[in-house]
């Protein structure tokens, strides 16, 4: 390296350190600070930062079941609802309420599934989650999550950004902004998707007003794992190396002439891009996992499945990716509830059980927080036209008053059920938990104080939790 260039690279680092020293809130103000993605050791907005408090978890795997699964078929057993199946629902559950699809006074719908108690904690789970039962003592189920939105896209935005409209960063971006990343070769925030994209679209992992390098990067299961990763036909890795060398040679010449530290950053980014061309496909290739591991997850090389994504999530946190966000589409059961749930539950049960066991075996469970959530739950009331519909085709409508989310791993007390809904599973009667509380708790486990993780934008300090958020201590160890 020529001495002059070395000087500028050092300058870049000094620059960044100067500004990061001024506090992370200053990051968004000057474009100079936006430089540098995952490269440049020791510098940049993605350089690992000290948390506000000792972290209970370093990384997070967040599984969003898109559409809103029925907590009543999976996690929250309500015998009274089963007993009163077919009765008109009490007035307070219908009169004056806004519902997405139900228009006429509906009847109550009890689950047709059995529940079994598991582990030392005696956690009750649906018969369709038998394998999660085997790791039940790692799970904490919050049964009283409340949201404010009952349509998919606004509720999804609300869950991730704490705000029902566009424009705010999601929790993954907040975490990336607050903690940076420990792997300088990979993004801090990776998104994996099964099924079609959630209603609110890419904005769910967009960075809102935070610098865009905190946005989630989707690793895709079809086509290039990262957009534009593979070379065009006729350009092999050797030719690509030549081209990158050429670019960097000319950029170094420019750096020597012009002296702009941004050029040094760009040189580093081309090197990283070249490395990613082999490291990302390698990471996404699960063929060389042990057969026993593949079987435990139910993962198949080349497939697009929640099982594959759970396995990839483990590989990503192993490499130090801070925030791994999974989306799994297909939980919006307005009809065919009892036919679909066993199938979807099977797709969830095995990989999640395997993921938790696998992380535990590798000693990673303590430092990885696992969250299984959704934008809302389902009504205890039946949805479906009463005439001309087969009885097995019934479903449930969107429900915001109370539903369940599951936590495991880093700093979570296992075998715990937190909060309680009423006997019909409609609303919380004990320990209600708001989405803002969930988000405050997730940040807390990662060592971030949700009241101090702020970003100044348009003259105001913004927070993920707005002016709310109470930590749910009941599920913490």
């Amino acid at each position: 390296m020529i001495p002059k260039q070395n000087y500028y690279l050092n300058e870049t680092r000094r620059e960044f350190l100067k500004h990061t020293g001024a506090g992370i809130g200053a990051l968004g103000l000057a474009s100079a600070m936006n430089g540098n993605l995952f490269a440049a050791p020791g510098a940049g907005p993605l350089f690992p930062r000290k948390p506000h408090r000792p972290a209970r978890a370093k990384n997070i795997i967040y599984i969003h079941l898109v559409g809103g699964p029925s907590h009543l078929e999976l996690f929250d057993y309500k015998p009274e609802l089963v007993r009163r199946n077919g009765e008109k629902c009490p007035d307070h559950m219908f009169k004056g309420k806004q519902l997405a699809f139900i228009r006429e006074h509906p009847t109550l719908l009890g689950t047709r599934f059995k529940y079994h108690a598991h582990g030392q904690g005696g956690l009750k789970l649906s018969e369709h989650l038998p394998l999660m039962g085997t790791i039940a003592d790692e799970l904490a189920i919050v049964k009283t999550v409340r949201t404010e939105q009952f349509n998919h896209a606004p509720a999804q935005l609300f869950l991730h950004t704490g705000f029902e409209r566009f424009g705010r960063p999601g929790i993954g971006s907040w975490v990336s902004y607050g903690l940076g990343t420990e792997n300088r070769d990979l993004p801090s925030y990776v998104v994996l998707i099964t099924g079609s994209v959630a209603g609110a679209g890419n904005s769910l992992w967009g960075s809102g007003f935070l610098p865009t390098l905190h946005q989630g990067v989707e690793f895709r299961s079809k086509g290039d794992p990262v957009l534009f990763l593979s070379n065009p036909k006729g350009i092999d890795p050797g030719s690509r190396r030549d081209i990158v060398d050429g670019i960097n040679f000319l950029n170094k010449t420019a750096l020597a002439d012009v002296g702009d530290p941004e050029i040094a950053t760009r040189i580093a980014q081309y090197e990283l891009a070249y490395r990613m061309q082999s490291s990302v496909p390698e990471l996404m290739e699960i063929r060389n996992e042990r057969t026993a591991t593949l079987e435990a997850y139910g993962a198949k090389p080349g497939a697009t499945s929640l099982a594959n994504n759970c396995l990839l999530a483990r590989r990503l946190v192993e490499k130090g990716v801070r925030f791994v966000q999974l989306f799994d589409q297909g939980w919006d059961h307005h009809s065919g509830l009892f036919g679909s749930i066993p199938n979807k539950a099977r797709q969830l049960d095995r990989p999640v059980a395997a993921l938790i066991a696998d992380l535990r075996e590798r000693g990673l469970l303590d430092e990885t927080l696992i969250v299984i959530g959704a934008e809302f739950g389902r009504t205890p009331m039946l949805q479906g036209l009463s005439n001309n519909r087969a009885a097995n085709n019934v479903g449930r409508d969107h429900h915001k008053e109370a539903y369940s989310m599951v936590f495991a791993g880093g700093g979570i007390r296992g075998g715990v059920s937190h909060g309680a809904t009423d006997e019909l599973g409609y609303a919380a009667v004990e320990d209600p938990v708001h989405i803002h509380d969930i988000n405050a708790t997730i940040l807390h486990q990662l060592g971030l104080d949700h009241e101090r993780l702020t970003f100044k934008y348009q003259g105001r300090q913004f927070r993920l939790t707005d002016v709310h958020g109470e930590i749910v201590h009941g599920i913490l160890s």
Binding site: F101, G199, F228, S230, I263, Y270, N388, R460
Partner: protein
């Protein structure tokens, strides 16, 4: 003690003061804040040294520099200045042959000529529209679930044209905020109001239309504050804040200006909601207008023919009447049947009326089958059955269908009509009807097929009848029970509301006259209406007229299918909505009523202005407004110089940054207003300055004394926007298509980016024509999944107003420029341009040409040397690998190369790909 109580009261009073919706307090919070004082033009600072700089701007900059012990850099090289100007004013690099007079004679005079030339280019508007469209959160889709497309590109075109035509900036603001309210508003002034029809809109099932509307109004208020006042109003939406100069009450007073708009989602059927709200047709395109004119000509010819036939009809009618009346007198009469038992499945009720009709009422089930049992009396023989569908006030438009699904279309759908006599099914030979809906002919009701049916859309609000002829006449002597069944299982409650069944004995041919025509013919005196009806009926039976009518219907539907393009516009409803303060920002929880008004901290609202959007717009552009002109010049400055004079471009409030050059900011703001709000004038002032024209080389002294370049001792180096990067690469490759305006374009992007599902989910089909290579400002903007390569270069989703995009530097950007198929194509086209350029003999000459095209400068020897040896290496590799070259060149779609050129292109691709990826190629420096 007494003192203590006083103290507590005093504290409490203060506290209450904060909580109240209080104006005076707000004024305290901002007392004397510079941005709320009207700007006054300052004296130009005197410069110590005599400088011959180009613009008054330099006085302020140099004054500051001198105080910091810094100096301007020397002028950038002419080719740098040329490139910078092209990038800043028209958004693409200059091409060989452009700017030659200036390069030959780089004087200030030639420079100014060049500036004038570029300010007059139509590409100026295309370049500058991008920033404004970020502010206006312009997109081509609704956002949210399904994220369907919407048409408002005419607004985008309006912005481009407004910039090109030099529309004064105050007028630009007025037309966008309230063009529809201007006296005698023109088409383009209405199009301009698309500015505030850009907010997102959720059309998911179960959405609450009012909540959608309130969200949109909130967005309009907040965006207006950010765009025109550089002020965040949003904070005052839910609470009063101690440091906020704008109170919650004042927020809702601004809200009131925008509160008079209609709902924008509509329940179109069942739980289906659609994006609605006011839109306006645009004038027809030339091609559409031509086909419309052709259809109109044919319609005219047919109408003429029809009229001439009709003229001769009057005589024929008289003759026909005489014969038919005679026939009718001897014709058999319909006998209405007295229904003994009527049943409707699905829970509807019914009443049998005096006229023997059955009125179905009460619950309107999704589907219903009617059964009517009759014991016929007083009839000897039956040759035909008549089913009348009658009107009743209980139905929308009085019927004849019930149809809850689409209430404005009271249709029924009769799938099957059948008759059993003594339990045995009777066959019909033929069915006729007073009217049958297209594809729902009455024959479908007796064909035994469950799917086909009789329906009457769009002839609502009038009775209809169907006559079913029996295959064999029925002698009633043997009949004890007639059982009619009417199957209506189409769904959506499309069932008959009131019906009557009649039978007739006699020649069915005589019955082909509709019953009302028979009545008219037999009446002693006819009303005018009856005479008209009779003539109409007769005409409708004329074979040639029938033919003509059918043709006319077809022509008319073809003509109606030629729809003009439309665009979303603002519209004021008659009668004002009441505006109330929304407690905690919740529209279901309101407080005191407020009327429209502007914040006390700013200049006062002239009483003579109307209390609507037009008044608000005029208040904004009033010369007393301390913010609007400052905010505008600051944004332009930032665009040219890399950062704002106020670095928090979106916040001029007490929490924002102080200006680096307050005098310059005010001088430019006053200059803007006094120049008649001329944006081009301010742009020219900036680009004429030495501050702008100087070199961007960073010295160690710069890094020491002013690392962030806040004082401008050097010109900025700024990475270009996503659109500019693409436009520049297209220009370099020679692919850039200049066609302006029109619907959004779909250049290539990887598969699987548009993955939304749901109703009307649009598909991304990459263009294979010129639209593949047009400028970025025209690329379709889908909020849930914006154009992939733009996202990697920091383009927002346009779900909300964005003042300034971040400028990151990431490996994903490297991958985009290296491998995005769009950029691979551009590199191949650039390679082709390099090898096809006439007059170049050697690799070195070609490399030099490529540098001039891509970077607007001469290549340095070290650069030429490096690339020459790389080319030699590549040449050797390709010599033994013809397939490799073919594969690479095969990546180009949307263009064709000669086979002979394949190897050469693959070789030069290396250089093209390198040059398009250079920092210098994507940075304005």
């Amino acid at each position: 003690m007494g003192l203590k109580i006083f103290h507590i009261h005093f504290r409490l009073g203060l506290l209450l003061g904060f909580l109240q919706v209080a104006g005076p307090l707000a004024a305290d919070a901002s007392d004397g804040h510079w941005a709320y004082e009207r700007p006054v033009r300052p004296e130009l600072p005197r410069l110590a040294k005599r400088e011959s700089q180009g613009s008054p701007v330099d006085h302020f900059i140099q004054d500051r520099l001198a105080k910091a012990g810094l100096e301007y850099s020397r002028l950038a090289k002419p080719e740098r200045q040329l490139r910078r100007l092209y990038l800043d004013l028209v958004g693409r690099p200059p091409q060989p042959g452009e700017g030659l007079p200036f390069l030959a004679n780089p004087s200030s005079r030639e420079y100014e000529r060049l500036v004038d030339l570029l300010l007059a280019s139509p590409q100026y508007g295309e370049k500058w529209a991008r920033r404004w469209l970020d502010l206006a959160r312009y997109a081509d889709s609704n956002g949210f679930q399904a994220d369907q497309l919407r048409d408002s590109w005419a607004y985008r075109d309006w912005v481009i044209e407004a910039f090109n035509s030099g529309m004064p900036f105050d007028q630009f603001a007025i037309e966008q905020l309230a063009g529809d309210l201007l006296p005698g508003a023109t088409l383009t002034q209405k199009i301009a109001t698309g500015f505030h029809r850009t907010p997102t809109c959720n059309v998911e099932a179960g959405v609450h239309p009012e909540s959608n509307r309130v969200n949109q109004v909130i967005d309009r208020v907040n965006t207006t504050g950010t765009v025109f006042l550089g002020t965040t109003l949003e904070c005052a939406q839910c609470h009063d804040h101690k440091y906020d100069p704008i109170s919650m009450k004042e927020y809702y007073e601004l809200f009131a200006f925008f509160n008079n708009t209609p709902l924008e989602v509509k329940n179109t059927s069942g739980v289906t909601w659609d994006f609605y709200g006011p839109k306006m047709d645009l004038p027809l395109s030339r091609a559409k207008a031509a086909s419309r004119a052709k259809l109109a000509d044919e319609m005219k010819a047919r109408e003429d023919e029809k009229k001439s036939i009709q003229r001769s009809l009057a005589v024929e009618l008289k003759e026909w009447e005489a014969i038919v009346i005679e026939q009718l007198k001897t014709a058999p009469q319909w006998t209405a049947l007295e229904i003994e038992k009527f049943e409707a499945t699905g829970g509807a009720s019914h009443t049998i009326k005096d006229d023997l009709s059955v009125l179905v009422h009460g619950k309107n089930p999704d589907k219903s089958t009617y059964t009517a049992r009759v014991k016929p009396e007083g009839v000897q023989r039956i040759s035909a059955i008549r089913l009348e569908t009658l009107l009743d006030d209980s139905m929308k438009k009085r019927g004849p269908g019930r149809n809850f699904d689409v209430p404005e279309n009271p249709n029924f759908v009769l799938n099957e009509f059948s008759l059993k006599v003594n339990g045995e099914k009777i066959a019909f030979s033929r069915a006729t009807a007073s009217f049958s809906q297209a594809k729902y002919d009455v024959a479908g009701a007796i064909d035994g097929k469950a799917k086909t049916a009789w329906a009457v859309n769009p002839q609502f609000g009038r009775p209809h009848e169907a006559v079913f002829l029996l295959k064999n006449e029925l002698s009633v002597k043997e009949v004890s029970l007639l059982e009619f069944q009417l199957v209506q299982h189409h769904g959506g409650g499309r069932t008959i509301g009131r019906l009557r069944l009649s039978v007739v004995d006699g020649d069915p041919a005589k019955l082909s006259l509709p019953s009302d025509v028979q009545t008219i013919l037999l009446a002693e005196k006819r009303t005018n209406e009856q005479t008209k009806r009779l003539a109409g009926y007769y005409a409708s039976q004329h074979p040639r007229l029938k033919e003509l009518d059918q043709r006319l219907v077809k022509l008319k539907s073809e003509r109606n299918a030629i729809r003009p393009d439309s665009t979303l516009v603002m519209n004021e409803m008659g009668g004002a909505r009441e505006t109330r303060v929304m407690l905690r920002g919740d529209y279901l929880n309101t407080g005191e009523a407020v009327s429209s008004g502007t914040p006390a901290v700013l200049h006062s609202f002239d009483d003579r202005l109307p209390g609507n959007r037009l008044g608000l717009a005029k208040w904004l552009v009033a010369p007393e407004n301390p913010l609007m002109s400052r905010v505008a010049v600051n944004r332009w400055w930032a665009s040219f110089m890399g950062q704002g004079i106020v670095s928090t471009q979106e916040d001029f409030g007490t929490q924002g940054e102080a200006p680096t050059h307050p005098g310059l900011l005010d001088w430019l703001a006053v200059e803007l207003v006094e120049s008649g709000w001329s944006m081009k004038h301010i742009h020219k002032l900036i680009v004429m300055s030495h501050a702008y024209r100087q070199s961007s080389i960073v010295s160690s002294g710069h890094l020491e004394k002013d690392p962030a370049n806040k004082l401008y001792a050097r010109a900025p180096r700024v990475r270009m926007s996503a659109e500019m990067i693409r436009d520049s690469a297209l220009a370099t490759s020679g692919l850039l298509e200049g066609r302006m305006f029109g619907p959004p374009i779909y250049p290539p992007q990887p598969d699987g980016i548009w993955r939304h599902v749901g109703r009307n989910a649009p598909k991304f089909v990459p263009a294979t024509n010129e639209n593949r290579f047009r400028r970025g400002v025209y690329v379709v903007w889908r909020r849930g999944a914006p154009y992939a390569s733009f996202v990697n270069f920091d383009a927002p989703d346009r779900g909300a107003c964005v003042v300034d995009r971040p400028r990151t530097n990431t490996p994903l950007q490297a991958l985009t420029l290296l491998n995005d198929h769009a950029y691979v194509e551009m590199a191949l086209a650039f390679a082709n341009r390099i090898v096809s350029e006439p007059g170049l003999a050697t690799d070195e000459q070609r490399i030099r040409f490529a540098f001039r095209v891509a970077l607007s400068r001469e290549a340095k020897p070290v650069e030429v040397g490096y690339l020459k040896s790389l080319l030699a290496k590549r040449d050797a590799e390709l010599a033994n690998a013809p397939k490799t070259a073919e594969a690479l060149v095969g990546e180009a779609r949307g263009m064709a190369f000669t086979k002979a050129a394949t190897k050469c292109l693959a070789k030069w691709f290396t250089v093209a790909n390198i040059l398009l990826n250079l920092d210098e190629a994507i940075v304005k420096g």
